[in-house]
């Protein structure tokens, strides 16, 4: 149930009119589901789903020597990030723990960042504290963020915002949609091809309505967003990632750019360089759980003696595989695909196997790749 004290998204009444069940999430009342998680999940994998992710933090960073300033807080090599391109990065603390994961886009003379909703205020305080005085951070509180995901997303959006079909995965550009200014990138959190659409909050209802009016599209709640990102092997901050976890443990080494690995100069560089060289003591892995009963976040990974050696951080039932899947931290010695893992949950032992992620193949529209 949602809490009367929850903040309202720009599309709050739109969701309710569409029959959404609203819950509290990141201080907002948000739609968990409309017709049902399973149906919404499968619909998005087959056609196109519209997600409201306006709770996420959107911000712009302006100023001189921006690249150098931002590289002091992110482990990315921004010299490789061309205009109109985005990449996945991390805010790290001095011990190499993850404060948040985010998307950073070079947009003309500034950077555009999208961070998690539950952590955005902390992130902003952290950035304002860490970045030089000359860097200006604008929190785009008057913006909404929509995501249109699924194999038919490109057909739908190219009808409403011609030209978006030319974007490839992890690029973005400015478009008009229903007369509204929009920043659209080809990206998302479902493993499918799709787009994320940043618009002014006052335009959100018009834009959402014209996208949702397309025959291929249904509105999709947070429930299916979670089950889809789990199938796609994508970690969720606050569950699979936290301030005690390093990017190497989290199997996010790709977010530490080559030059930065060598040079360091980002928070936690010492530990991260050490883990890159010698390996971390535990690692995030995907698990296929035997049987049909899902194993949830918080379940223990146990060894043959029943001692706890790790933890399940996300778990559920995969609608596409029709089987339970999970993400867990396990000792590095047990992290290879094919390793048998024993889990304890709700007073029961479950058998599982380490499997490579994603659980369901990604279908991104990469540049140069055949459609």
């Amino acid at each position: 149930m949602s809490d009367p004290l929850d903040k309202k998204l720009p599309l709050d009444s739109w969701h309710r009119a569409k029959g959404a069940r609203m819950v509290s999430f990141a201080d907002y009342a948000m739609p968990i589901q409309y017709e049902g998680i399973l149906a919404e999940h499968l619909w998005t994998r087959a056609s196109a789903g519209l997600f409201d992710v306006s709770h996420m933090g959107q911000m712009e960073l302006h100023g001189t020597d921006l690249d150098a300033a931002l590289e002091t807080v992110l482990p990315a090599d921004l010299s490789l990030l061309k205009g109109g391109r985005l990449r996945y990065s991390l805010l790290l603390n001095d011990e190499g723990g993850i404060i948040d994961d985010l998307m950073v886009t070079r947009r003309g003379d500034h950077f555009y960042l999208v961070v998690n909703g539950a952590t955005k205020h902390g992130d902003i305080a952290h950035l304002r504290h860490k970045l030089p005085v000359g860097i200006k951070l604008d929190h785009l509180e008057d913006h909404a963020l929509l995501a249109l995901q699924g194999p038919k997303a490109v057909d739908v959006l190219s009808r409403l915002a011609p030209g978006v079909e030319a974007l490839s995965f992890m690029t973005g550009a400015a478009f008009q949609i229903d007369g509204a200014r929009a920043w659209i990138s080809r990206s998302g959190y479902t493993g499918e091809d799709g787009f994320e659409i940043s618009i002014l909050a006052r335009d959100a209802e018009t834009v959402a309505e014209s996208i949702a009016a397309q025959a291929e599209v249904k509105p999709i709640g947070l429930g299916a967003r979670d089950s889809m990102r789990l199938e796609a092997g994508l970690p969720l901050y606050g569950h699979d990632l936290d301030e005690e976890t390093t990017p190497i443990e989290a199997d996010l080494g790709f977010a530490i750019s080559k030059r930065r690995r060598e040079e360091g100069g980002f928070p936690g560089d010492e530990r991260i360089q050490r883990e890159l060289k010698h390996g971390p003591i535990r690692r995030r892995v995907g698990l296929a759980v035997l049987g049909r009963q899902p194993v949830r976040e918080g379940a223990m990974v146990v060894d043959v003696d029943g001692d706890e050696v790790g933890k399940v951080t996300s778990g559920g039932f995969s609608p596409c595989l029709e089987a339970p899947i999970a993400m867990a931290y396990v000792p590095t010695a047990s992290a290879e695909p094919g390793t048998d893992i024993r889990l304890a949950s709700r007073g029961k032992i479950f058998e599982a196997k380490v499997v490579a992620m994603p659980f369901v193949p990604h279908r991104y529209h990469r540049k140069g790749a055949a459609k």
Binding site: I32, Q33, G36, I37, L38, A39, H41, G223, S227, R292, Q293, P294, R296, G316, F317, P319, P324, R346
Partner: protein, 123 residues
């Protein structure tokens, strides 16, 4: 034959000393798509308010409590193969288990269909 309801959104259909237990349409709607269920085997002794079954939806796990005490005579084997019966027919094909009541007096704490409806409306 009388059907009673609990505040935990279970129904119990009683015929003499025998009863069938399941969850209500309201409960299945709240749980969402059910993907797994574990029902008690015949011979299991259940106690009013004690754990009797487990239901897992895509979202979350829920314990189902016994609305009355007694001995289980049958678990619904069909649910193992098709847990979605609970969503499609919660008060029919989606029943959980049958039991023999050990104490008829426990029924007096339960709600009638009418009381249960007003209880749900008040939520």
């Amino acid at each position: 034959m009388t059907t009673y309801y609990t505040k935990e959104h279970e129904w119990i259909r009683v015929e003499g000393d025998n009863a069938t237990v399941g969850i209500t349409d309201f409960a299945q709607g709240q749980l969402g798509d059910i993907v797994f269920v574990e029902v008690p085997a015949a011979g299991t002794q259940v106690k009013k308010g004690g754990d009797a079954a487990v239901v897992e939806s895509v979202k979350a796990a829920s314990d189902i409590y016994a609305p009355v005490s007694g001995e289980v005579t049958e678990g619904n084997a069909a649910l193992e193969a098709d847990p979605s019966l609970i969503n499609s027919d919660p008060e029919g094909e989606g029943w959980f288990f049958k039991l023999t009541l050990s104490d008829n007096h426990e029924l007096s704490d339960l709600m009638s269909a009418e009381d249960y409806k007003s209880f749900c409306d008040s939520l």
